[in-house]
């Protein structure tokens, strides 16, 4: 009896399991199961807040106005029109894009160089890899404060400059917008080159070896192999690395916040810092929401063009 029962249950479970496995193996179900968690997560997390952001961007509301947010007066496109006319916004935008180009460009070149440098086996490789990856593991507060202290007027960098080039050589790094931005870019490059390195290094590692060997036997130079064999195969991964890094660098906040606080005046303010001031310090939540929506649209359009070639590039056979 007991045996019979168990057997039956097992058979049923087996059947059921088999049925589930069969359904799960169907092409259509397989796809759905694969993307369902992502869809659920994004919709669950984003849809309500996005609606609230859109709502906020078309009303005129600050918490200190003494009205509840769902009773705020409508402003329609007023906030958007204000953003378009906001000089501080466009300046911050241009500045941020400049930082992105400079920082991401340097990070890509350095990251690729390092990834090539560390290919293959050699003594102490794991140690060097660990060292190179370390900067992005530090909390941003610490990266910020270390660079802030290093380039302080009476900090170590100026001290060394003073010793080498005489007492008049030390430079007021944070007193001029360009040099202050330079320090910020430097800190960003220091902190995030490891990311480029990480992706490109693992990307290089995943490349098939045969084409390279074939090229080598055909007598191609190392440069030719790199340029005409490895680089094209690496392209999808390069795109991903550059796009991801550029999106993150565009939101640069931490380093600016600690190193210059956007000063002198607003001359080193990044777009994120400006939005932070607007929403968290001035409490202009509606205006900040409109600005965020506009930024999202602009960045989305830019990114769309940036990832286009990647889609065409798909499945190189």
């Amino acid at each position: 009896m007991v045996y019979w029962c168990r057997e039956r249950v097992e058979r049923m479970a087996g059947l059921l399991g088999g049925r589930i496995a069969e359904v799960a193996n169907r092409d259509s179900t397989f796809r759905v199961i694969l993307v369902a968690p992502l869809q659920l997560l994004l919709w669950f997390l984003l849809i309500v807040p996005t609606l609230i952001v859109l709502y906020l961007s078309v009303v005129n509301w600050q918490p200190i106005m003494g009205v509840d947010w769902w009773q705020a007066p409508l402003a329609w496109v007023g906030n958007y029109a204000r953003v378009v006319r906001d000089v501080r916004f466009w300046e911050a935008m241009a500045r941020t894009l400049g930082v992105v180009v400079a920082a991401v460009g340097l990070e890509f070149l350095l990251g690729l160089g390092l990834a090539l440098l560390l290919r293959g086996e050699f003594l102490g490789k794991r140690f060097f890899t660990s060292v190179i990856l370390y900067p992005m593991m530090l909390p941003w507060v610490v990266v910020g404060l270390v660079f802030f202290l290093l380039f302080l007027d009476r900090g170590p960098v100026n001290y060394i400059i003073g010793l080498t080039f005489g007492p008049d050589a030390p430079f007021d790094w944070y007193g001029h917008p360009l040099s202050a931005l330079g320090v910020i870019v430097l800190a960003d490059v220091w902190q995030w080159t490891p990311f480029m390195f990480l992706i490109l290094y693992s990307g290089l590692g995943a490349l098939p070896k045969e084409p390279q060997e074939a090229a080598m036997t055909l007598g191609a130079s190392p440069w030719q192999i790199f340029r005409y064999v490895m680089l094209p195969m690496l392209r999808p991964i390069i795109y991903v690395a550059v796009v991801i890094r550029a999106l993150e660098a565009f939101k640069i906040f931490d380093l600016v916040f600690i190193i210059t606080r956007g000063g002198p005046g607003t001359s080193t303010e990044s777009i994120s810092l400006y939005i932070y001031r607007l929403s968290a310090i001035y409490g202009q939540l509606s205006y900040a929401a409109a600005m965020a929506v506009l930024i999202l649209v602009m960045v989305a359009v830019l990114t769309r063009y940036a990832v286009k070639p990647m889609e065409q590039q798909q499945v190189p056979q």
């Binding site: 990856l133 370390y134 693992s202 930024i295 999202l296 990114t303």
Partner: protein, 285 residues
């Protein structure tokens, strides 16, 4: 030339490591300095009066001296924040990479959701998150998730999932399809193919995504600050506690930064050897 190459490479690696380590060395040096030396002029690399006080205040062991001790005597030890971080960051990382991996496969192989789906995921990274803080806060209040570890982990998963999706998609794109098709013709189920053929081939990408997402979750500050008040404080928030109104506590901040980076270093070291075992490993089968 051939014999010289390894040497050149080794010298270059040492030089790079030195440059990379310089700011780290400075942070370590600050973490062993008493307050008077944190921003001293002329700067000294080796502390004049080295002290462990900055580390002691973190865990409230011993009796550190001076103003730092006075100010932080009643501080919460970092233990609780450490535990929260050790729960939230790995949980969110695992969830994010798992979800991202599946979706990446679906997108790469079946173009599920068209080009818009990965793009939609990426939009979560396209605007300054601070603009999203208040609406999310209102929403989280409705869900009762404010100041909970689950809420934080959920949010971290949602806001990092774009990275594994895109990073791993890049890797899957470069895996030739015929490898999988052959296995399916042999009668393997799609799931089996996914886990035994594709996953090993893109292991490097998965490892890179794991490490990167873990770092992001481990060091995230803004959401942790906004969505916690007491129970779910994470390490980066705790780091910010050592910025008192009587002088920023560079010493304890640097010390905590270094302590906080240790789990990531360990994770990085473990993951490292998986970074480059992609293609060759998989093809042996």
């Amino acid at each position: 030339m051939r014999g010289l190459l390894p040497l050149v490479r080794w010298v270059a690696a040492v030089a790079v490591a030195a440059v990379v380590l310089m700011p780290v060395v400075w942070a370590v040096s600050i973490s062993f300095k008493p307050p008077a030396e944190w921003a001293a002029h002329p700067p000294r690399l080796v502390p004049e009066e080295p002290t462990l006080a900055n580390y002691q205040v973190l865990f409230q062991v011993g009796n550190p001296v001076g103003v730092v001790a006075e100010m932080t005597r009643t501080a919460e030890p970092v233990t609780r924040a450490f535990i929260t971080s050790l729960i939230v960051a790995p949980l969110a990382t695992a969830a994010s990479v798992a979800i991202g991996f599946f979706a990446a496969y679906a997108v790469s192989r079946y173009q599920v959701g068209g080009p818009m789906l990965p793009f939609l995921a990426l939009t979560t990274r396209m605007f300054p998150p601070v603009a999203f803080a208040v609406p999310l806060l209102v929403y989280y209040r409705m869900l009762g998730l404010i100041d909970t570890r689950l809420g934080l982990a959920l949010m971290y998963t949602g806001f990092t999932v774009a990275f594994p999706l895109w990073m791993i998609k890049g890797f899957i794109d470069s895996v030739p399809r015929h490898v999988e098709e052959a296995a399916i013709l042999d009668g393997a189920s799609r799931w089996r193919v996914l886990f035994t053929i594709t996953l090993p081939l893109v292991k490097g990408g998965v490892a890179a995504a794991l490490l990167f997402v873990f770092i992001l979750n481990w060091t995230e500050f803004l959401f942790a600050l906004i969505f916690t008040s007491r129970h779910a404080i994470t390490l980066p928030v705790q780091v910010s506690y050592y910025a008192g109104a009587v002088g920023r506590f560079y010493g304890p901040q640097a010390a905590l930064g270094i302590v906080a980076s240790l789990p990531v270093v360990i994770a990085g070291y473990v993951i490292q050897r998986h970074l480059v075992r992609g293609f060759t490993f998989g093809l042996v089968k």
